[in-house]
Amino acid sequence: MDSKRVALIGNPNSGKTTLFNALTGSTQQTGNWPGVTVEKKSGRLLQYKEIELIDLPGTYSLGAYSEDELVAKRYLLDERPDAVIDVIDASNLKRNLYLTMLLLEMGENVVLAVNMLDAAKNRNAEVDVKMLSTLLNVPAVPTIGVRGKGMQQLADQTRENLDRKSQSFRIDYGHEIEHHLCKLERMLHRDNFCLHSQGHRFLRDQEEPHGFGRHNKVSDETVVECDDNKRALPAMPARYLAVKILENNQSVMHRLKENGLTEKQLEDIEKDREHLENIFKEDVESVMIEKRYGFIEGIVKQVVTKKRIKEGGINHKINVSDTIDMVVLNRYLAIPIFLFIMFLMFQITFTLGGLFADLFETALGSLSGLIGSGITHPLLKSFVLEGVLGGLGSILVFVPNIFLLFLVLSILEDSGYMARGAYLMDGLMRKIGLQGKSFIPMVTGFGCSVPAVMATRTLESKNDRMITMMVLNFMSCGAKLPVYVLFAGAFFPQNETLVVISLYLLGIFAAVLMAKIFSKTLFPGENTPFVLELPPYRIPTLRGVMIHMWDRGSEFLRKAGTLIFAVIILIWVLSNLPSGVAYASQESYIGQLGSLVAGIFKPLGFGTWEAATALIFGIVAKEVVVATLGTVYSTQGNLAMTVQQLWTPLAAYSFMIMTLLYTPCIATLSAIRRETRSTLWMIFSMGYSFAVAWVASFLFYQLGGLILSLVGKL
């Protein structure tokens, strides 16, 4: 059977992801969008394998303010999926239906998933899904995503409606606008700027436009068949194009001009627009948005039955979410609570992670003992013990830490607190030339820079995006954690947490400083508007959080299994060549390579070939830093003791600063290149991060040495 493509779209926080997970189960795949190489998720319906479901980024409209929304819009326009499942949050019907209106106007084959009916009920609102379906003339299915309710029905409805011809859907924009829309539609047909979506038949408008008041009532039913060869624009209903023309939509206007819109026609269109603006005393686009909301208002009135609504005001039943916000966003309590949550996040990651790590290490130790006694061949033994267990083992120890960090981040995100963080941090972020929304990628950066770079897609302004991407590397990611744990544990056992926190703070400080500098120099410009929804708090579901955590955490495991493993083998090989040298000695290739660049790090306190090698390979992936140290110091298990003997505490801290700030890993660099679509920015990011790191370590080591010697003299 032919594979069919169905797009899943909806407002952010409409429960779209939960629905996607419930519909596709474990068949999901992540890939990239064609052209834009932004992460894409797709999967096959559990019920009907022939249907591929594509998860589009959450969006409020198709206005394409951010990269995310652009992806959704482009997909619909260019790929023309067989159907679109539009997820709408029943507890916030009005705003969610706005996107539905746009989809219907575009002539999409829409299936509505009316989600979160339980949440609506909690707000004392009953939603009549059947009525909604009738009024909009599209199938609508009630769902409760978190409990997997309605999935079968949604899958059934989607399959049944795959070949449904899109219905001509019209919002009545009122006499004045309809008159002009009608004129434009006629022009579009006449000049073959066509315009028919799969089998969609267009009606020639009657000469007298005044009878056009109510939608769908067109008297003269002459069908205009478009000449496909002459079709200049992708299959779009004429009505949609006419609406976009009046709204002065730049991309539609551009396409029309490219396809032979004459000067005269353009002039006429502008006159039309001017005429309408004179009538409404407002730009046409705003009028259209208002009319759409007016239309929605009418639907909501018929579909929703609310109990207890205060006359003319807002439903005054204070809901749980607002009660939480009264505390969490309280002017005085907000910041302490915020700091506490951040503290808790790291506490869980380190303390709880540490417990797991200890278990893991014990297991690894006994494993290496077991293998060591089992293998007799010296080269193989060296490979397994020093190469695989020494290298891989030293980073796998941190799997629990990283998973826990992602777990906490997922909880923060799914619960709705992350948006509050953006709200609380906006004031601060603005001071450094960014805005509150940049906070989300930055916190994500504590986990891993790669998803963080991708998370910048939600930022509307290019400047904000660039600055955020350029400083993200300084937010200490999970892969840098092993270095801190190793060195802080070895040199500052009493103050381990404090030392680690100090590094995180230093990273934040570096990010803030550089953001400030960038916003003044490379990316100057106005502060961008900040319009952010504060979604209602939701208790994250175990399943949702687990999927979220696994999605990101498994990336680490995958990396450990492939890239990092390969590098470890490479290091092991380089450590054994040229043949005859002592394993990982200075005479080996790896030792020579390290010695070559070690000089650069001399003023920073760690001008040894071992450290230099670790940093070089660390660019492949930051986890490799510790793994390399594990290999070159050829320890099995207790790397901490070795470094304790060979390093000074000052050098150790300086090395941690270097690791924190220097050149991003290859995965991050390639993400930056993809997102900025520029190799130049990637190279810039490599170079300047290294410079910042070097200067920071240098200042720390030299000043630290000076102070220590002064203290020593006293």
Binding site: S91, G427, P529, V531
Partner: protein
Amino acid sequence: MHRLSSANQDYLETIFLLAQEEESVRATDIANRLGVSKASVNQAIKTLKDAGFVINERYGPVKLTESGRFEARRIHFLHHLIKDFMISTLNIRDEIAEKEACQIEHVLGNQTVKAIVNYMRNNEMKVKHFDLDQVHEFLFYAKRLSELKVGDQGVVKKIEAQGDLKRRIMEMGVIKGDVVEVLGVAPMGDPISLRIGDYNLSLRLKEADNIWVEVL
């Protein structure tokens, strides 16, 4: 908005002006100023009170409410606007302008007033005591959303932003006629959080400046 008769508008304006001169305004003061009987004043006060523009205990002073002050300022502004317009543009003598402005001020609609304001602004003319850039306050009888306090509610009257920002705000569901409530202010005083319809939104004061609301 409650529409008042021209006579009552005059009373309101007089109370407003008297309140600027004296601590408390009494019915006698108003009667003296306008040269009318105390009975007519009491009658007018009752109407104004019913419309929610003044507070007046029996035998006590007359106080303007928030909305009363707004309405009075609006009328007062119109008076000066028209008078100064007549004098500066039409070269009409002061006394005549003063007298006729008193009558015209009650009948002009928003559109005409706006046109006059625009004309005067474009020609860099001034109106005594008023800043023409802040005229929205009087014309729409509204406040900027950024001026609302936590807990205040208002009906959206106008979104002044341009281009993308305006579209963004509107597409997010902030539409004329909707009720918004200010839920809170971030620790640094900015942004603010709002409830609009069924959901919560946060905006910076700068964005909220562009949204005019009629306070409920």
